[in-house]
């Protein structure tokens, strides 16, 4: 079957061409991944931070399929300035999937900290909120005996559009190899609420924040470029030949390059003959 035939065979809601995926197949793989990797380390539950956005909604849907809704622990963590629609959409997702969400207001601890740092800009505040949420999820991981399941997608991981040790910190990441466009397709395929799928993606770290405004380009566009650049390994000249603007290609390449540190564990200074992660290299699923 040719690529065009594959794309034509999918629903109109699915991304076209190169980013087309078979949603049933991907769902099966992601479900198996969560089930196996959670259970083999002795857990039954998954803890998911639920924002009201499409990534965490899809993550929770996968966790519910993998472990059962009774073993999914969705956690909604609003700040007082968060959009009320976010919490409403998060509750809608949790209810639709048959789960009971925990709601933890992070305003007291965030405000307590920034009372002493009144000049902090919104990036600092946003990062602090992301790390506060991580801290809560890891506390609940122990309290509820569940692994923290991350919600980062391939687009934001490649662009470095996430907070290191915040939303980028988790035990497992089912969506990390799927571009945002593909996340939308899967969310539609699994019948997640339209409100979650149709609203503009936002980290909701401050009022009116929008991913696409902040990034300066649309997911639909950058996903196609990232696919050509990363998955297809096209050179600059080839991308130019495909019609991509040189400055845009350079900008995206620089974002990917400059955020590489976020995708790697910290550097260890090598002094011995057997250094962790360098020549001490057991699999993470060692003995599991």
């Amino acid at each position: 079957m040719s690529v065009s035939e594959t794309a034509a065979g999918l629903s109109a809601a699915a991304p076209g061409g190169a980013l087309a995926v078979d949603c049933d197949l991907v769902t099966e793989i992601l479900t198996g991944f969560v089930r196996e990797e959670v259970r083999k380390v002795g857990f039954e539950r998954g803890v998911v931070g639920l924002s009201g956005g499409v990534d965490s909604a899809l993550t929770l849907a996968v966790v519910c399929r993998a472990l059962g809704p009774e073993n999914a622990v969705p956690v909604i963590m609003p700040y007082r300035a968060s959009s009320p629609a976010s919490e409403r959409d998060a509750r809608l997702v949790a209810a639709q999937l048959g789960t009971v969400p925990l709601v933890v207001d992070i305003s007291p601890q965030i405000d307590a900290y920034f009372d002493r740092e009144p000049d902090a800009d919104r990036n600092r505040r946003g990062n602090k909120m992301a790390r506060e949420r991580m801290s809560i999820l890891y506390d609940l991981s122990l309290a509820r005996a569940g692994l923290v399941i991350g919600t980062s997608n391939k687009t934001e991981l490649l662009l470095g559009y996430g907070t290191i040790h915040g939303d980028m910190a988790h035990a497992l990441n089912p969506l990390g190899d799927l571009y945002k466009t593909q996340i939308f397709a899967l969310a539609r395929h699994l019948g997640l609420p339209a409100a979650v799928i149709e609203k503009a993606p936002s980290a909701d770290l401050w009022e009116g924040q929008s991913d696409e405004d902040e990034l300066g380009f649309e997911y639909a566009v950058v996903d196609q470029l990232l696919h050509q650049m990363i998955d297809e390994r096209r050179t600059r000249a080839e991308l130019h030949g495909l019609g991509y603007d040189d400055a845009f290609v350079k900008q995206i390449h620089r974002r990917v390059r400059d955020s590489q540190y976020k995708r790697r564990p910290p550097l260890i200074a090598k002094v011995s003959n057997r250094t962790i992660d360098r020549d001490f290299r057991y699999p993470r699923d060692w003995g599991r």
């Binding site: 550097l267 260890i268 090598k270 002094v271 003959n273 250094t275 360098r278 020549d279």
Partner: protein, 308 residues
Amino acid sequence: MVKIEPTPAVAPETGPRSDIVVALAQMAPRLGDLGANVARHLELISAAAAGGADLVVFPELSLTGYFLKDLVTETALRLDSPEVHALAEASRGVDAVVGCILESDDHRFHNAVLYLSGGAVVHLHRKVYLPTYGLFDEARDLAPGNRFRAFEAPLSSAAPRRPWRVGVLICEDLWHPSSAYLLARAGVDLIICPSASPGRGVGQGSELGTAQSYDVITRTYAQLFTTYVVYCNRVGYEDGINFWGGSRVVDPEGHLVGEPAGRDEAMPLHRLDLAALRRARIANPMLRDERHDIVDAECRRLHRHERE
């Protein structure tokens, strides 16, 4: 960026020259930044020539850095690349040995060393032994070379009274004595070993374990094959791994010429002399006495045995 000044060798001899001056460009490449590294090479080649060197040797993968991973294909050169042309042009005053990723016509990527002289690539060695164990993963990204060849180095600034026969071994190549044996049998006066050796193994005295190993290997080969060994290792850090430098020249009796370099960027100059080589081979004529016929016969027999 550290400015590297050449450290002069002893004063030049007068009369017909049997000597050459070799500069060891012990530098830290910028990982994956071909443009910056080419510019640095041009500076150092020029400084070496101005300092009186006849040959300047750079470390392994000096044009790219070592732990390249996916950068291998993005930093690869071809023999007709403008970067190679620019470096070759710079070799009109001083011969230069540089390390790079070289892409073949059928898109294999080699860890390669180019010997440049008089505006041309005079010799090319593709690393044969690609370490893929411990902290190394070269065979994941690279194709191996398949030969060890000696060549006559022009060294025209020294106008030597006879050509110097030279062979190149890249880092891990040196850990296989058969490589050095083949070059010795091909009649080399000088083995050049560009290296990107990661420092490791503390707790074995004041020197790193790797530094101790290279000290033993370079001195042993120089003495047993009665040849000069020029070892140029890089310095700096990549992804937490340090490169220990220690670049050195060993004479054909197995003694260090001058002091090995330290762990920082430096460009020491050392004098190598065919007269010293001659004296060593008179004193220790192992090469004359080597029984290549026995080696060949035994290899043939072993080869038959292996096939059975």
